[in-house]
Symmetry: C2
Subunit: 401 residues, 2 copies
């Protein structure tokens, strides 16, 4: 039986191939410290569970296709109060996490041979969401030395052609930790407008910024309202990844109408999780957000301090999200990862990260880079980075470097 | 900005256009009885809510991409105990309801110009799931007089060509209420095998059968294991539509590997709902299923009795699910629906159903048919069918028939 050529061109998670080696290392009694997983250990606010427990309807009914009203209102009010943006309920569609919002947008705007500009390195699952539509990622190149900044007219415009349908950005950035400046956001909005492109802005890490800046969103650029689609989610904001409640937000009525076809087709997102998510937004205070941000800042500092101690490692200090890309003084970070799992240990411990190549669309790029997710406590992170340093040393010694 | 031609070819729910008329009728103080909605009013078992309330993890984490282990095990054990089919955990993938299972299967096997055979009338959302892949529904024709039966070799095989990838059936049937016999299931498995087609069997209404037959599944035909994909869900079985927990089940390892790419891409289905769904399967007893089935049987009987009283109405007695297709003695059931909402009332009440045309792939078919969903109590159903009869009479009188 034949499969779709589009799904065949998609790939399984690149991190998956290491799983048997992790199992083998653990079987040898080794502890593997994980810098590869984006699952935060911060407690989910009780407000979520309380709301779910108080749900008293005898029948767990379908939610409306566009979302539970209380959730849509909570998202609207959050944007008004915390981000300073006025939305109508019709601009918001409840989705299964940011993931489904992306799947829906891609299905609405892409088809065979269409191109979408994505600054690399980027979140690898974008490739799947785009690939199943027949669309193609056209990477906007960046350099680690330059902090992966890409929002420059001369870098983006030459990539635009008649197949280009959209620009997709993650801000704050996964995996780069880069936060776009006001000038950069403005420029992206201008380019999208001038070239008639959708500007898809994945803003699920909005609150996690370290520069003291006000919360921002691409939705601020009202003159580009027809172009902008925001992807949002409660996953990172409230450490509630398993709730799978997100939103697709756009003032482009035609886009929302197309999206509605898919929303109606799959009936609705989970009712109870939307009830919980509404409570999370109602519970949210600046103090809560500051607490989460400060906790991530401590973790970032632990990682930065650790990385600075490793000879030859280069990285840009993260401005947001909970990731940092680092360039290591090795030939190939995949090979190093195998070495760390199979041959290396220090006091019974070793470390795992996400090799950089999986975050690039351009073949061969990122081979000496890694992504570190700092979602555990500072002490564990410090030790994990120490292990990384020791592992690099042992690996290069073994290879006669 | 351009949209995908595939999404543009998809349609909004055909029932949507009646919404303003319902609002207008209600504004005039009329009560609209609904025979158009597939949302049962049967209570969701407390087991679901209890399990959700007892969830004590401090962090609502991502579930594994293929599903929460307790849920996968519960599905496996349900198939072993209730249906008599042995499955491995790797044959089962947790999805957002049956809907996402269908979306994933279609994305794995269909691309531009591929065809999928679907007996009509069929569940309209299939068209969206298939349409976004670029695939095309090729309807297997049926006749109302023949109870919409389609599983005959001479009816199916002439439709198979080099573009055909799969046969998709709903059993028990929505909207037809037809239950496939063992001989029909066997024939479908044979045809799929002989022609190298996937056989996608949507079995979400499995327990709701009225003929005293044992539970069945296309998975029984182990010789067609490579062909068969079952779509399942807790929505109807446990009246928990808003949980959005389903499953894609297949012993075809290659298909499951392709599906895994999408599963990993969207990360996971909602954690808490899977915990609740696992509890539903653990709670399930033959007595519970018999109670639900008997309740639907009473409702079916109320509808059947009512329809028999309306002159000129033809229908086949439903064998399963909670729907019946009826052929009405009118020129156009959409026109009748507008009449019922705008002009008709009896003691302040009127009625709404799903016009038949939306369930057909062949243009023009189903124009004098309707789908009735019997998901409310027998007294309300009796009154709704009475209103339908009075409405037909008034409509035909007005039109001089």
């Amino acid at each position: 039986m034949k499969f779709s050529s589009k799904i065949e061109a998609c790939e399984l998670s690149p991190i998956r191939k290491f799983h048997p080696y992790v199992v083998a290392a653990e079987a040898k009694g080794r502890k593997v410290l994980h810098l590869n997983i984006g699952q935060p250990d911060i407690e989910t606010p009780k407000a979520f569970f309380d709301a779910v427990k108080q749900f008293a309807d005898p029948v767990l009914e379908y939610a409306p296709s566009t979302g539970v009203e209380a959730y849509l209102e909570a998202v609207r009010d959050y944007y008004a109060q915390a981000v300073g943006i006025r939305l109508e309920l019709g601009d918001i569609m409840a989705t299964y996490g940011g993931s489904e919002a992306l799947q829906i947008v891609m299905a609405c705007i892409l088809e065979d041979g269409d191109e979408i500009l994505v600054p690399e390195p980027f979140y690898p699952n974008y490739t799947t969401f785009i690939g199943v539509t027949g669309g193609v990622v056209r990477p906007i190149p960046t350099e680690p030395e330059n902090g992966y900044r890409f929002a420059r007219r001369e870098r983006i415009e030459p990539l635009i052609n008649r197949h280009t349908r959209a620009i997709l950005v993650t801000n704050p950035g996964n995996p780069t930790g880069t936060v776009l400046s006001r000038e950069e956001l403005r420029l992206l909005a201008d380019i999208a407008k001038e070239h008639g492109l959708f500007l898809i802005s994945d803003e699920v890490y909005r609150e996690i910024v370290y520069g003291g800046e006000a919360l921002s969103s691409m939705l601020e650029y009202e003159d580009a309202a027809e172009n902008v689609v925001v992807i949002d989610s409660v996953s990172k904001r409230f450490s509630s990844c398993g709730a799978r409640v997100g939103a697709m937000i756009s003032r482009n009525k035609d886009l929302m109408t197309q999206a509605m076809k898919i929303c109606q087709g799959r009936l609705c997102a989970a009712t109870l999780d939307q009830v919980g998510a509404a409570a999370l937004y109602r519970f949210m205070t600046p103090a809560y957000c500051a607490g989460v941000r400060d906790e991530y800042a401590r973790r970032k500092d632990a990682v930065v301090e650790g990385l600075q101690k490793i000879p030859g490692v280069r990285f840009s200090r993260p401005e947001g999200a909970f990731y940092v890309m680092a360039t290591l003084p090795v030939d190939d970070t995949e090979k190093l990862q195998y070495f760390l799992l199979e041959e290396f240990e220090d006091r019974g411990e070793t470390v795992m990260y996400a090799p950089g190549e999986g975050f690039y669309g351009t073949p061969g790029k990122g081979r000496n880079e890694i992504r570190i997710a700092y979602v555990t406590n500072p002490a564990e992170l410090t030790r994990a980075i120490e292990l990384l340093g020791l592992g690099i040393e042992a690996y290069n010694r073994k290879n006669g470097r």
